[in-house]
C-alpha cells in the first residue's frame, strides 16, 4: 500500500480564473494542497516559497509564456512540470520537452487523467535519481 506521508502540493499556473478554480476544487477534494498563480512571474516566486511537488503550467499566458517559465524553473529546480495548453502542434510538444517539461497535455483534459498523471509523475519522478517514497 502506498502511503503518502504528507499531502502533495500541486501548483496550477493559468491566467484563466475558471480553470484555476476547477483545478483547486477538484484536487482539493482529493487531498491535495493547491497553490495557484496567475502569471509566470508569480509562479516563479511561489515555487521558491512553497516548493510544490508538481507544477501544472499553462502555455499561453500574457507576459512570460509557459516555455520561458519552464526554462527558468529548470534553472533552479527539478520539480516535475506538466504543461497544459490548448495548442496541439507537433512542434510545441518537442519544444516542451526541449525546455525540460516532464509532460505535455492538450486541453480539454479530463481532470481524472490529469490527477493520475500528477500522481504517476510524483511517484516516479524522471528527473530525480532516487526518492524516499517507494511503492509496494
Amino acid at each position: 500500500m502506498a502511503e503518502i506521508t504528507d499531502p502533495l502540493t500541486v501548483m496550477i499556473v493559468d491566467d484563466d480564473e475558471l480553470i484555476r478554480r476547477v483545478v483547486t476544487i477538484y484536487f482539493g477534494h482529493r487531498g491535495y494542497r493547491v497553490i495557484s498563480a496567475v502569471t509566470g512571474q508569480e509562479c516563479l516566486e511561489k515555487i521558491a516559497l512553497d516548493e510544490p511537488d508538481a507544477v501544472l503550467l499553462d502555455v499561453t499566458m500574457p507576459g512570460l509564456d509557459g516555455w520561458e517559465v519552464c526554462r527558468r524553473i529548470r534553472g533552479f529546480s527539478t520539480v516535475p512540470v506538466i504543461m497544459l495548453t490548448a495548442r496541439a502542434q507537433e512542434s510545441d510538444r518537442d519544444l516542451g520537452l526541449a525546455v525540460g517539461a516532464d509532460a505535455y497535455i492538450t486541453k480539454p483534459v479530463s481532470l481524472k487523467e490529469l490527477e493520475a498523471k500528477v500522481r504517476a509523475i510524483v511517484q516516479h519522478p524522471p528527473s530525480a535519481g532516487s526518492t524516499d517514497t517507494f511503492q509496494i
Binding site: Y26, A86, V109
Partner: protein, 821 residues
C-alpha cells in the same frame, strides 16, 4: 578523183551510217517510221552509187548508162519521201496512192531505160568539174511529172501535219523536215542554174536532208530550228557586213586608186584585212549586242535575269519576298503563265507553298508537298530539271497519287526545277506553260538550273533565317509572357536578360540591373554556401526549384528558385511564392489560434462537468448551481465565438457586393436597446438614447447594422459599473451620420488600445473585472462599419469609461455599394 566522186563516196558512207543507225536494234525492232526512212535511205544510196559511177566514168557510154540508172532512181525520189511522210504522220487513207505512185515510177523508169534517147540526149564533158554532165530531152520533163506531183503531195502532207500538230515539239520536228525539203529543193533548183550546174549541189543537199530527217526522228528533245536559223543568219550578218565592207574597200582601191594587180594588191588586201578586223571588233560586238537585244530578246533577257537574280537574291533574307521576286522575274522573262514555288520547311519537314503566280482562284492545289513526294525523291536522285513528259513516263513517278497528279495538272506543270544547296533539296519550282505554248528549250532549262543553283543557297539562307526568326519570336513571346521569372546569366554570373515577371520579383529597373553581377542585385547570399546557384555552378547540373528567400534592398521575397546551366551561362527560374507563404502562415496561424481559443471554453465546460459528475464532491446545491451556471456561460461564449467567426468569414466572402438599403438608424437603435433592456435593468444601468426623429437615412444592410449597433451597446452595458449610464447619440455631419456610444465603465488600458481590433484580443481591464468575452466583438464591429463605407474610432481611459464613434455615409440613392479592399 573529182569533186562529185568525192562527194558521192562521202554520201554513200553517210547513208550507210544512217542505215546502220536505223538498224541498230535489228530489223524486227525497228518501227514503221524508221523502216520507211530506211527505204528512203536505200533509194538515196542507190542514187548516190549511180552518181559515183557517173563521176568515175571516163567514156561517154559508161556515163550514159549510169545516167540512165540514176534518172530511173531519181524519178522515185519524192515517192519514197512521201511514203516516209505517210508513215511519219500515220496516214492510212488513200491507200491506193502509194501503189499508184509505185506503178507510175515503174512505168517511167522502164520508159527511161528502154527509150533512153528520148530522155537523155547525150552527155558532155565538163572541164571545170571533171566529169560528164547530161543533156536532157523534152520528154524528161513529162516523165518527171509524177515525181514532182509527189513532191507537191509531200509538201501538202507536211503542211497538214504541221497544222494538226498536237504539241509544240511536234511542230519543231516538222520544221526540221520542212527545212530538209527546202534544202533539197534548193539543191535541185541549182541544177537549172548554169553556174552551179556543174557542181553536185543537189547531192550535198540530199545528204543534208537525210541528216535532218534522221535528227528529227531520232531525237526526243530538239533544238528549236527556227531559233537556230535565226541565230545563224543574224550572227553572220556582222561577218557579212565586214566582208562586204572589205570587198568595197578593195574595189575602191582598185578602181579609184588605179592600183595594178600585183604584189601590192596582195599586200594591200592583207593590210586592209587586218585593219578591218581590228577596227571592226568593237563595232562587231556592239552590233552583235544590238542584234541580240533585238532578235534574241528572250535569250538576252534570260542572261540579264540570271545576273539580276543572282545579285539580288543574296541580299534578301525574307523568304517570302525572295521567292516572290524569283518567281516573278522568271515568269516575266520567260513569259510563263503560271508557277508555284515550294520551299522546305524545317519544322514540318515538308515543302510549303511560298509563292505562286497565275494560280489565283484555282482550287485543289496542294499547299504542302511531303518530303517523300515522288517528284521530290526524283529531283533528289537525278538533281536536274524534270519535264512533263518525264512526269508522265518516268517509272520513278508512277507512284504519284491521283491528287498529286491533279495538283500538278492544275498548275499546268511543264517543268520542275530543283533548288539544290549542297545536295540538299531546299526548294521545288514548278513552272507552268509558257504563254507562247512552246516547250522549254534545253538552254532555257539549263538557264533555270543555273539560276536555281545560284539562288538555292540564298533561298536556303532566307529559309533558315525566317525559321530562326519565327522560332526566336516564339521563344521571346514565351519568355515575355511566362509568369515565372526568367533570368539569364552569363558564365561570370552577370545578368544578361530578364523577363517582365523577373523584373517584378526583383523589383529593380532592368536598365540598372542588366550587366551587373547577380550578387550585386540580390546580395551575396544568392551565390554563397548552400544556395541553388552555387550548387549549379559547382556541379554543372540542373538544380530543381527550391524555396529560397531573396533580399532586394529592404524587400524580402520568398521564391521557388531553380537553376539550369546552359552552354554559356545559367538560367534562373523564379516563382514568387511570397503571397502563398503569407497565406499559408496566416492559415496555420488562424488554425492554431482558433483551435486554441475554442479549446479553452471546452476545457472549462468539461472540467466543471467532471466536477458535477463526482459522487463525493462534498459540495452543496449552491455550488452545483454555480458550476452549472459556469458551464452554461462558457457554452454561450463558445457559441458566440462560433457565430462571430462565421459572421466575419461571411463578411470577408461577401466583400464584393452587400445589399444596402436606406435605413433609419433610430429604429435599429431602438430595437437593440429593447433587446438589451433586461441586461441593463439587472445591473441598474440607464440607457439614454438621443437620436433625432428627422435624421436622414443611412445606406445600410439591416442585418449588419443591427449586429454593429448591438455589439456597441452590448459592450457599453457589459463594461459599465453597477448603476452607471450609457448614452447613445446620433447626429448628422455634412454627408454622414455620426453615432456616439458612451459609457462610464471600466474603460480600456492604454496598452490594449492598439490591439483592440485584433482577433481574440481581450483587454486587461475586462479580464480583471472577470468579464469573459470572445475577443471578436470589436473586430466584427469594425468590419461591419467598414463594409458600410464608414469609420470607427475608440477613445477610452482606464477606469473612466469609453467613447466609441462610428461614422456612416448617408444614403445617396444607389441600392448597392461595391467594396473592394
Amino acid at each position: 578523183m573529182n569533186l562529185p566522186a568525192f562527194i558521192s563516196l562521202g554520201g554513200i558512207l553517210c547513208y550507210g551510217g544512217l542505215m546502220a543507225l536505223v538498224l541498230r536494234r535489228g530489223f524486227r525492232e525497228t518501227g514503221t517510221v524508221h523502216r520507211f526512212f530506211l527505204l528512203y535511205l536505200v533509194f538515196m544510196t542507190l542514187w548516190q552509187c549511180s552518181a559515183l559511177m557517173v563521176s568515175l566514168a571516163r567514156d561517154v557510154q559508161t556515163a550514159l548508162v549510169w545516167y540512165v540508172v540514176m534518172s530511173a532512181v531519181v524519178l522515185g525520189q519524192f515517192l519514197a519521201y512521201s511514203m516516209f511522210l505517210r508513215a511519219f504522220f500515220s496516214i492510212h487513207d488513200h491507200r491506193l496512192l502509194p501503189w499508184i505512185g509505185l506503178l507510175l515510177w515503174v512505168v517511167s523508169s522502164l520508159l527511161v531505160l528502154l527509150y533512153r534517147q528520148y530522155f537523155i540526149l547525150g552527155v558532155y564533158w565538163n572541164e571545170r568539174t571533171d566529169f560528164y554532165l547530161p543533156v536532157f530531152g523534152p520528154m524528161t520533163s513529162l516523165v518527171a511529172i509524177p515525181n514532182y506531183a509527189f513532191l507537191v503531195y509531200a509538201i501538202y502532207l507536211l503542211y497538214q501535219g504541221y497544222r494538226r500538230a498536237g504539241s509544240a515539239l511536234e511542230r519543231i520536228r516538222i520544221r526540221y523536215l520542212f527545212l530538209g525539203l527546202a534544202v533539197v529543193l534548193g539543191g535541185t533548183l541549182a541544177n537549172f542554174v548554169p553556174l552551179l550546174k556543174a557542181y553536185p549541189v543537189d547531192l550535198v543537199a540530199n545528204i543534208v536532208n537525210a541528216f535532218l530527217i534522221a535528227y528529227a526522228i531520232f531525237r526526243f528533245q530538239l533544238l528549236d530550228i527556227s531559233v537556230v536559223i535565226r541565230k545563224g543568219l543574224l550572227y553572220s550578218i556582222p561577218t557579212m557586213a565586214i566582208g562586204v565592207a572589205y570587198f568595197l574597200a578593195l574595189s575602191f582601191a582598185y578602181n579609184w586608186l588605179h592600183l595594178t594587180l600585183g604584189y601590192q594588191f596582195f599586200l594591200l588586201s592583207v593590210v586592209l584585212a587586218i585593219v578591218t578586223a581590228l577596227a571592226a571588233q568593237p563595232f562587231r560586238d556592239t552590233l552583235q549586242g544590238w542584234l541580240d537585244r533585238l532578235f534574241f530578246r528572250e535569250k538576252y533577257d534570260s542572261s540579264l535575269m540570271l545576273q539580276r537574280l543572282s545579285r539580288t537574291s543574296a541580299t534578301l533574307l525574307d523568304i517570302h519576298k525572295l521567292t516572290d521576286m524569283i518567281l516573278d522575274d522568271i515568269a516575266r522573262t520567260l513569259h510563263i503563265s503560271a508557277g508555284a514555288f515550294y520551299i522546305k520547311h524545317e519544322g514540318s519537314g515538308q515543302f510549303a507553298l511560298r509563292a505562286q503566280r497565275g494560280l489565283d482562284g484555282v482550287a485543289g492545289i496542294e499547299r504542302r508537298l511531303r518530303d517523300d513526294h515522288p517528284v521530290a525523291v526524283w529531283l533528289r536522285t537525278y538533281q536536274t530539271t524534270l519535264t512533263r513528259q518525264q512526269v508522265d513516263t518516268s517509272p520513278g513517278l508512277v507512284g504519284l497519287w491521283a491528287r498529286e497528279r491533279k495538283s500538278l495538272q492544275l498548275i499546268g506543270a511543264e517543268l520542275v526545277v530543283p533548288l539544290l544547296a549542297r545536295d540538299y533539296l531546299t526548294g521545288i519550282l514548278i513552272l507552268g506553260r509558257k504563254l507562247s505554248d512552246l516547250p522549254y528549250a534545253l538552254d532555257e532549262q539549263r538557264t533555270l538550273m543555273t539560276l536555281a543553283n545560284q539562288t538555292a543557297v540564298a533561298v536556303e539562307n532566307a529559309r533558315l533565317f525566317s525559321e530562326m526568326a519565327a522560332e526566336k519570336e516564339r521563344t521571346a513571346a514565351i519568355v515575355e509572357h511566362s509568369f515565372a521569372g526568367i533570368v539569364l546569366l552569363d558564365s561570370e554570373l552577370r545578368i544578361v536578360s530578364l523577363n517582365p515577371a523577373a523584373e517584378t520579383i526583383i523589383g529593380r529597373d532592368p536598365e540598372i540591373v542588366l550587366g551587373t553581377p547577380l550578387r550585386d542585385v540580390l546580395g551575396p547570399g544568392i551565390v554563397n554556401g548552400k544556395s541553388s546557384l552555387r550548387k549549379a555552378v559547382s556541379t554543372g547540373e540542373r538544380v530543381a526549384p527550391r524555396e529560397e528567400t531573396l533580399v532586394v534592398g529592404d524587400r524580402r521575397r520568398d521564391v521557388l528558385l531553380g537553376v539550369t546551366p546552359l552552354r554559356d551561362g545559367y538560367l534562373l527560374s523564379l516563382a514568387d511564392v511570397t503571397q502563398l507563404k503569407e497565406v499559408e502562415r496566416l492559415k496555420s496561424d488562424i488554425v492554431a489560434n482558433v483551435s486554441h481559443e475554442f479549446r479553452t471554453p471546452l476545457a472549462i465546460i468539461k472540467a466543471y462537468t467532471e466536477l458535477l459528475m463526482e459522487d463525493d464532491q462534498g459540495g452543496d446545491a449552491a455550488s452545483r448551481q454555480e458550476y452549472l451556471a459556469i458551464i452554461d456561460a462558457e457554452t454561450n461564449r463558445l457559441a458566440a465565438m462560433v457565430g462571430q467567426l462565421l459572421d466575419l468569414a461571411r463578411l470577408e466572402a461577401d466583400r464584393g457586393v452587400i445589399a444596402m438599403a436606406p435605413l433609419g438608424l433610430g429604429e435599429t437603435v431602438d430595437e437593440v436597446a429593447k433587446l438589451l433592456q433586461p441586461q441593463a435593468d439587472a445591473r441598474n444601468i440607464a440607457v439614454d438614447i438621443c437620436v433625432p426623429r428627422d435624421l436622414p437615412a443611412v445606406s445600410a444592410n439591416k442585418e449588419l447594422l443591427t449586429t454593429l449597433v448591438r455589439n456597441l451597446l452590448d459592450n457599453a452595458v457589459k463594461f459599465s459599473r453597477e448603476g452607471g449610464k450609457v448614452e447613445v447619440v446620433a447626429s448628422r455631419e455634412r454627408d454622414a451620420i455620426v453615432l456616439h456610444v458612451v459609457d462610464q465603465g471600466i474603460g480600456i488600458s492604454e496598452e490594449d488600445l492598439p490591439h483592440l481590433f485584433e482577433k481574440f484580443h481581450r483587454g486587461s481591464t475586462a479580464k480583471e473585472a472577470g468579464i469573459r468575452g470572445t475577443g471578436l466583438g470589436l473586430v466584427l464591429t469594425k468590419q461591419a462599419v467598414e463594409a458600410h463605407g464608414g469609420m470607427i474610432r475608440v477613445e477610452s481611459k482606464r477606469g473612466h469609461g469609453t467613447r466609441i464613434t462610428v461614422t456612416l455615409p448617408l444614403h445617396d440613392g444607389t441600392g448597392t455599394v461595391s467594396l473592394d479592399g
